[in-house]
Amino acid sequence: MNCFGCERNLSSYRDDELSVEERLAIEAHLEDCQSCRGEFESHQRAWEVAGGLQGGTVTDGLWRSVEVNLEEGRASTNLDDLALMIKGLASEIRDLHHTVDDLRRQVEQVEWGVDEREGEAHGRRPDEIRVGRGRFKAGTPREASIEQFRRSS
């Protein structure tokens, strides 16, 4: 092994990332070459100091802050879900409301049509019509309704 090959493998040698053959070749070269030995020693010293610098101590508060954040995340997700659910329900209620209105209109149209046909068939006047089960006389619709209410009570 030459000096170039030795120098570029010094890190791998130090980290024990070489094959046995490569390792032996480096060791043989370091044994013979003072320059590469000096290079390795200066690397070694820097790495030892760097490796000796430890990464501080975890505080007890770290888990708590992670936990709180996760809970907040879950809570906000639930609120989002709830908001979506409410929007969906509101939309369904609106649709149902429209459907009921349509059905009511259709029923009223059918009842009006039946009453008119029945009235004509039995010789009634067109203004003598049914609303639901009650019958009322002609007049303004509001007055007729009040009069009908008085009679029935």
Binding site: L10, A46, L62
Partner: protein
């Protein structure tokens, strides 16, 4: 590499088990915090980075597919978080006195006062040299030299080949050593 207990724990986390999250946190907290501390240079920033890394990992744990070890996946998240922060600003290293008081430099305690002083100065130079590395070189230096990871694992974290790790790690170390050369020769 993961053992069965880890796989079971991760599966429990994926089901939303709060106790499993706590257990996983306890297994990995020191290593993740250490990585963040070396990358940011101080414990205050490291705590924020570690917190963000764990939160990101736990929120996305459903997407972990066990293609790699969980630790590798988690360190990748932490590494990316640290890189993103490092791109914004250079690390702010805590004073060496403060670090020594916190027993961050254990080697210095075993030496006589004169040797301790030299070691402290050398440690300061090392910190400066590491801080001066471009962020990707700093990360590979931290993973390889300060966290003692194997090249295969570093390759998985950084998503590159072992050969690339080998070249890059030596380049980073050489840069640190060269910055220290005048000091090492005295």
């Amino acid at each position: 590499m993961e053992n069965q207990a880890d796989i079971g724990l991760i599966a429990a986390c994926q089901q939303g088990d709060a106790r499993a999250f706590r257990r996983v946190f306890e297994i990995y907290r020191d290593r993740v915090f250490s990585l963040c501390c070396h990358m940011s240079g101080n414990e205050v920033d490291a705590e924020d980075l570690a917190q963000e890394s764990f939160i990101q990992a736990f929120r996305n744990i459903g997407s972990f597919r066990a293609d790699s070890a969980f630790g590798t996946w988690l360190y990748r998240i932490a590494s990316n978080r640290c890189l993103a922060e490092a791109r914004k600003r250079r690390p702010v290293f805590a004073s060496m006195e403060a670090m020594a008081e916190k027993n961050v430099i254990p080697m210095a305690r075993e030496k006589n006062p004169e040797e301790q002083l030299i070691h402290k100065e050398l440690a300061e130079r090392v910190e400066e040299a590491i801080a001066g590395l471009p962020e990707k070189q700093r990360l590979i230096f931290v993973l390889g030299t300060q966290m003692g990871m194997r090249y295969r694992e570093i390759g998985e974290i950084l998503e590159c080949s072992e050969d690339a790790v080998k070249v890059r790690i030596h380049r980073a170390r050489k840069r640190v050593r060269d910055a220290l050369k005048p000091f090492l020769e005295t």
